[in-house]
Every structure is written in C-alpha cells, then in structure tokens.
Symmetry: C2
Subunit: 414 residues, 2 copies
Amino acid sequence: MNRDTSNLLARRERVLSPSYRLFYEQPVHAVRAQGCWIEDADGQRYLDAYNNVPVAGHCHPRIVTAMAQQGDVLNTHTRYLTEHPILLAERLLATLPDALGKVILTNSGSEANDLAIRISRMVTGRRGVIVTDCAYHGTSDLLQGMSPVTGLPLGPDVHAITMPLAPEGPEQFAALVGEAIARMEADGIRPAALLVDTIFGSDGAIADPPGFLAGGVDAIRKAGGMFIADEVQPGFGRTGAGMWGFARHGIVPDLVTTGKPMGNGQPVAALVMRDMLALEFARMQRYFNTFGGSSVSCAAALATLDVIEDEGLIANAARIGQRLMAGLAPMIEASPALTGLRGAGLFIGVQTVSGDIAAAIVNAMRRGGVLIGAAGRGNAALKIRPPLPINVTEADHLLESFARALAKVEVSNL
Amino acid sequence: MNRDTSNLLARRERVLSPSYRLFYEQPVHAVRAQGCWIEDADGQRYLDAYNNVPVAGHCHPRIVTAMAQQGDVLNTHTRYLTEHPILLAERLLATLPDALGKVILTNSGSEANDLAIRISRMVTGRRGVIVTDCAYHGTSDLLQGMSPVTGLPLGPDVHAITMPLAPEGPEQFAALVGEAIARMEADGIRPAALLVDTIFGSDGAIADPPGFLAGGVDAIRKAGGMFIADEVQPGFGRTGAGMWGFARHGIVPDLVTTGKPMGNGQPVAALVMRDMLALEFARMQRYFNTFGGSSVSCAAALATLDVIEDEGLIANAARIGQRLMAGLAPMIEASPALTGLRGAGLFIGVQTVSGDIAAAIVNAMRRGGVLIGAAGRGNAALKIRPPLPINVTEADHLLESFARALAKVEVSNL
C-alpha cells in the first residue's frame, strides 16, 4: 500500500462513520474509471466485473455531457411545470406493460421501495409483506425489516420464504408464498404485498426456470395482496432479455421499483404502478420528493436510456452473458470448490462451497486485477455483474482471471 | 397559457402520479434559471424568492463545472477508497462543533432523518420521538409519522408539541418538551429523541428569541433522549448567522441532518453525529447507501461549500435578510391582513390572518413575477426564502412586488 493510500485510509477512519466498509482484504484506492475499467492510485487497472450502477460504463461521455448541459440551463423540482420528469416518465412507461401507467420519481431504490410498500399497505388496508430470506430492499427504517440479508430481524408483519437456489417451477414458488401467507394469517396479519427482486441478487442470482415467479404472483393476488417487482438489480437490461427482470417470468407487476443503474451513477430512481394505485394513494395522502424528478437527474436517466438503446447494450448483455456462462460451466464442473452456476445475461452467480472460499476467490481476483463480489446465504455465491458494455476480450480476461484465482484457492484451501 | 404549456400539462397528467402538485393557480412552466431568476416558456422572468435548494443561485457555473469535471473522471461508491467523501466529511466537520465527529452521506434529507431516528432509537434502546405540531421531516414511511404538517396521523410512539409562534424563551420550550415527555411516559414510552427543524420552517419560521431551543435540549437530555437538529432548512448559511441554524440557540446537537441546499440541486445529504453514536450503531448493524457519498454528488457539495465561502453568502444572507425585514415591518404594521414577522437571515415568515389571504398574496406576487410560498398552521404564513446571492436591487424588487400584491389582496379580500 502506498503512502497516499494509507494516509487517506487514516483520514477516512477519522471522519466517516465506522459503518462504512471497504471491499477486499486490500481496498481499491480508485482515482479514475472509464468503460469497464477502474484505475487505482498506483496506476493499476482493474476490470470492473461487479458494478451495476455504471450500467453504460463508467463516466460515459454522453451521459456526463447531458448532465452538464442540463445543469447549465435548469435544475429544479416538480412543483414547477418542466419537461424532463414528464419525458422520463414517458420513456419509462414505453418500456413497461400497458397496465403500469403512473410514475413517481425518487432519489434511490430505497426511497422507491419504501414508497411502494406504503402504497400497497394503504391501498389494501393491510400490513403483511412477504420477502425472501436473503432479500435486500434498501436502507430505510421500514426496509431494514424487509432485508434479512443484513442479519437484522424481520420487521413487524413481515414474513420470509426460504428461497431455493434451484426452484422447480411456478407451483413450488406458489406453495412457498402460500405457506408464508398461511403463517401470516395465523398471526392475524393479512397480506398486502409480495416484494421480490426479480433476479434475486442478494439471494445469489436465481433466474431459472423462467416463469417460476408467476406462481407466487398468482398466490399473493388470490390472497388479495399486490406484487411489487424490485427491479433495482435486474432492471435496465441487465438480464439480456429486455429491460426488466420480471419480463422473463411472463408476469405483470402491480408496482415496479427501479434504482441503481437508472442514471449511470446519478442518484435517480422511480416507482411505476397501476393507475388505480396511484389514484388511491393520491386521494389518501400527499407525497413530494424534493430532488425526485429534478432536471439534471432526469437528464442523466434519459441519456442512460439513449445509450442502452443506441449501443445495443441489452443484446450485448445477452451475448457476453452467454459467453461467460459457457466459459464458467466447465470450471464449475471440474472444481470441488464450486457447486452451481446461475443467472441471466450479465448477472451471474457462481455457487461455492463456503463464504470463505468465495472470499478467497474474490480477493485473489482483485489481486489479479479483476473486481467481482459475493452474495447469497453465507456470502457463498460469487456475484459477477459487470457494466453492460463489456466486450469479448474483457469477458475472456475475466474468465482467465477466474480460472487462475480458482486454481490458487484450490491449492491453498482444499 | 400558451399551447406548449397546456400540451405539457396534459402529458404530465397522463404519466405522472396524481400525487404531484404544481405551485400557484397558474403554474410556472420553467425552462431556464440563473442566479435568483427563473424564466418561463413565454420568456417571462420570475424573481425566485422561494427556493432554498439552489442556495448558491440557480445553475451556478462553478458547481456545474465541478460536477462535470468529476463526472468525466470517476463517479463511484464508498466501498472503494476515494478521496471525495472524505474531503466532504472533513469540510462539514470543520463547520460543526468538535463533539460531532462522524459523518454518513445520503441522497436526501429524508434518508438522513430516517437514519438519525433509527440510530437514536437503537442506541438509547427506546422508541419515543417528539416533534412539533406542524413539523415536516421527510418522505419515508417512518418520517411521514413525524411530519404532522402533511395531515397524516402521528406514528407509533411519536408525540407532538404545540409550537408557539412567538416563544417566550428556553423555560417555556423546556416546559413544552417536558409535557410531551410526561404524556409519552404515561403511555409507557420512554423518550429516544427530540427532532426539530431549528428554523421551524414548516411551522412558519420561528427563530426568536435566539437560545429558546436550549430549554428543550436540556429537557430531552435529562430524560435520557437525544437531540436531533434537522438542518435541512436552516443549514448552509440560510439564517445569516453561521452555517447552522442550531448555532443561534447556543446548543450542540447529538445528531445533525442536512439536505436540500447541500449540493445546490444535486441529491446529496448527510448525517453527522457524536462519535460514540456512530460507534454504537456500527456495532449493532450494517449500513450502506449506494449513491450516498458518490463522487459527483460530493464534488457538487464541495463546490457549493466553496461558493458559500468565496462569495460571502452567509454575510449576504444576514445583510439582505435585515433589509427585507426592515422593508416588511412597516407593511405588517399597517396591514390588517398581516399579523407578524418572523425569521432569520433569508428565511422569513410573514404571518397572515388566514390561509386564503396567504394564497391570494402568493398568487398575486406570482402574477407580478415574484415567487414565494406559504407554510405553517393552515398555510397562513408566507414563506420568503430566496437563493442566498440575492442582491439589494432584487430584494427591493421583492419588497415592491409584495407591497403591490398586498394592496390588491386588501382591496379584494378585506
């Protein structure tokens, strides 16, 4: 570690809350980034195979320019009539099923999920919420109780289903949701919503078989509750199969939340819902979000949508995702440390035998200049989730780095 | 209304949730803004005497440039070691009492307040929260129950004090907080925190006598609770008396939250707290905020701090605030429609006899090209809160517009 880095670490400890955690045994001191590459203070370059926020690639010039141009002209809120939030809502709705007709813009996926829960509870007049057992849905007080992956207890009226890593199909998922509803109702709580990340990112990337989610959606609706698709992870093309993760499951949610990749790094997020829910909610209470829908945030989101479309990033996610899957499959077959391969497009989960093994691979790859992460139960699943413009050469570099790290970890750990 | 505006209004109704509300009988269709001026689609210019978010003036070139330059280089999160969040935390702490030593960065004042409540509850092991009866503290599920100005019921374990518009002093405020503690404890709830906007913005701008807040702070501490200063409204120099609203009251909070003006429009906010609270919280649970502390947001906040300092905006807030107060005082004296003048620096509240009168003045001024708002009980207080660089000519223009609007409203309403 060079001196600048250790000085900066000391300053960081002095002023930032100890809640802050750095990735990797040896943290990455990032000073610049472009496309799928991050450069550290020593000039070492890292292939970023982890970050979904810069969906169009780090520091995409078109998005930076759009923000700067808008910043020069107007950056205001939605109490004045301005074009940007309307344009953005129109563009979002054009990518979504017709049944979803009304948009509220926020600053983070957390704010969008918090509001989605509030609306589903107000409109149904019920309290019960079902999540998966390694779910993560955000930072607010309400959502910490719906994010069991953090190790915190479930909130009041929240029940979790134990998510299988290899679901059998819609019947099994319907049964899991049905059991949670039954437990909830036995406690005298009626179900308001099923809240699911449609790529199950923090559960370790559970994507197949396509359509399995439909069983749970039917079950919650039969019980009078809403289905909320948390698209913070899979949204904006990550799965390589259209814009939204729920589409692979052939379902239409009642509410959809977005976040992380929406502004390629700019804090912007959204809640989209059925018209009737928006009407009922507006009848019952006020909602205003100061920065939500502000002009520069909307300009970033609009430019991000343009880049996803113009650069064919969804098709690229599908193509490179397949290449990565094809390259990983034989390694998983051959290694006693690895037990499964899951995911869709550029959200890939590699199951390892333990959190320690996963951490060892993550840190070995970081030393080799490739950034990935871990998630799921016991942090035993490797999470591979690069910016969408990753190309063939970069994907092959990732696979080589993975193979080398795996070999080292096998030698020293197994 | 021109055709573009009515078309845009129709598009807006189609895609945005009906929760969205526009200001003014005749909405302002904003297309550009600079300094203290907003221009509409017809080319009419409005003096902005309402917006505290663009604290350094709309579209400040130095802040826009800082964001664009950072956006070109790196825009990432706090799981990597980067300089920007550390620099920003250092700069913030340098403006705050020494007892406040640890920072968490968020995207909005709502996220900061939500977290402040969570920390005060976890660390005290108690639930009770005291707010004022027209308080507004944010949009999250938790905070809606602490924002009675929205008309929603108080949340569980939340008690409100009836805030006098002209407090007598610290003893009276101590008694009010003491009564709320007693009510709370009679319900079996122990007090965790007193949460107060230190300029009482949504209560109608209650600033005097300086020091009155100290009584309440003593009372909550004696009862074992924390004092949270919500600086979203008064922070960053608005009161003309230093950076923070609480300083006028000679107190040191346990937790301080910031928001709106912090990035001059960029979604960035912070929670600053005593070291021990940060340590205890980190011991008890994880916290990570994806966009909180991201490089471009920090660059915006750092540039905003630079501009506040280099352009002497706090001194300007004091000087122009006094000029506005001096100009308003005789009008209030003379008018049967107006009953009081409150505030500090460039947060000014003019009490009117009713919400209807306040709305009539607000709309008359808007027709005359000056933007103000209303707040407080029954929305009967006028809220005058321009960007801090407002100059003498602009202030006099505001006063003339106010006088004209008042005369019109007196003729037609009294």
